[in-house]
Amino acid sequence: MSGPRVALVDGGGTNIGSVSYALERLGATARLTSDPADILAADRVLLPGVGAAGVGMRRLRELGLDEVLHQVQAPLLGVCLGMQLLLDHTEEDGGVQGLGLISGQVRAIPAAPGLRVPHMGWNALTGLVQDPILAGIEEGERAYFVHCYAAPPGPHTVASATHGAPLSAVIRSGLRWGAQFHPERSASVGARLLRNFVVEVAR
């Protein structure tokens, strides 16, 4: 009952149910909130997100949550669009400024013959860098991705995947992490990453 309190930032996305159920399965207490005090008091902060970048950022700004997320001292994890919004800028919706909490750009997955967009399904995690959020996850294990935009690998990439070109699967800067795939829908690999986020990463 006294598991870590995870604040799920309510940015209006639709995969909030599945993320909170995944955290419940790990024994954490997940609370959907857009209240700054709640977010700043939590042991962990998770920014989920399904949908489009323009709407997602606009909603965070309207609620003043862009400022709040900059003040968060606890470990922070962005998932899918939530990860993309942690970065500086995305090409989606004609170009949207992100939160700039981790440096990097998000680009459209380029169309190529035989390459399906959206990138949808189970892809292998490669180029794993030693990081507490990846503890127990092996090179080549698969996670569930579904997205049309991606961050090319950069200095903050700690795991990659390849769909036409390489892309960042997991990024990290200080106590801020992002996962492009959906850990809540990635079977044991995803549960491991969420457990690492809730239990392993140092405060």
């Binding site: 399904g121 292998a124 569930y144 829908r185 079977a187 044991s188």
Partner: protein, 263 residues
């Protein structure tokens, strides 16, 4: 290593239970929805599709209670089909924890529905189911209202044109149900799937005709589909998922093997 081909068991749901009928009639109870969903997830299914067979023909929306129960229990993605005609109905299903929603007949009546869903939730959430049959002139055309054999209607639009159109409207995935091979268990309709593949830039899922493990090998190799859906062969236990994944891996098809299959 790259993206894995997906194996997708499809479960028909009536009033929160999994049922199995013959050509949509005489439904037999197959068990509790959460129990079966959990079993498939554990055995290595890559994704599940739940088709709410009460919702669509009776003009009802989806009862989201069972969607929530499934979302709490499983840790792989799932899609809900049947009974979704509006953005609000889709939102309720997605908020309950579904990852994708699939529309079929409502999209044939009002293709703008696909656009509205894609704008509201992103193309990655929006699947369009296409029921297709070859007509006497040799051309594949789509059908609507296939949930009720007495109400099924043939439309004039060709399957290839329809698949092009739904992508323009914002479909993020197409499930092609080849009605001519459905229920016959003689293999997927490779000719039709390969033809649709040439006009389908989003993920394409094959449906209808799986009867043996080799049929899955064939459909991935010869029609280059991204996923293969089946119901009966999984429900009956005729094809166990771990053995199917091994067969595919041995044939050189990229699949997700869970640790207990690797041995």
């Amino acid at each position: 290593m790259t993206l894995a081909r997906r194996i997708i068991p499809c479960l028909d749901v009536r009033e929160g239970r999994v049922v199995k009928g013959t050509r949509f009639r005489d439904h037999r109870d197959m068990g509790d929805i959460v129990e079966l969903a959990t079993r498939y997830a554990t055995e290595g299914a890559d994704e599940l599709v739940f088709y709410d067979i009460t919702a669509s023909p009776q003009g009802r929306g989806v009862d989201v209670n069972w969607v929530t129960r499934v979302a709490r229990a499983i840790d792989i993605p799932f899609c809900v089909a049947g009974g979704i005609r509006t953005v609000d109905q889709a939102r309720a299903v997605l908020h309950a924890g579904a990852d994708k929603i699939s529309v079929n007949t409502p999209a044939t009546r009002r293709p703008e529905l696909v656009t509205e869903l894609a704008e509201a939730f992103g193309v990655q959430c929006v699947v369009v189911g296409v029921d297709s049959l070859r007509d006497e002139d040799g051309v594949w055309r789509i059908r609507q209202l296939t949930g009720d054999p007495d109400a099924t209607r043939a439309l004039s639009v060709t399957t290839l044109d329809w698949v092009r159109q739904v992508q323009e409207h914002g479909a993020g995935e197409v499930v092609l149900n080849c009605m001519g091979s459905d229920g016959v268990r003689q293999g997927y309709d490779l000719e039709q799937l390969a033809a649709v593949r040439t006009v389908c830039g989003v993920p394409l899922v094959a449906s209808g005709g799986a009867g043996a493990p080799e049929h899955f090998v064939d459909v991935f190799r010869d029609a280059d589909v991204d996923g293969a859906l089946a119901a009966t062969v999984f429900h009956s236990g005729a094809i166990p998922l771990p053995a199917l994944k091994r067969t595919l891996a041995d044939a050189g098809v990229e699949v997700r093997l869970t640790p207990d299959m690797a041995a």
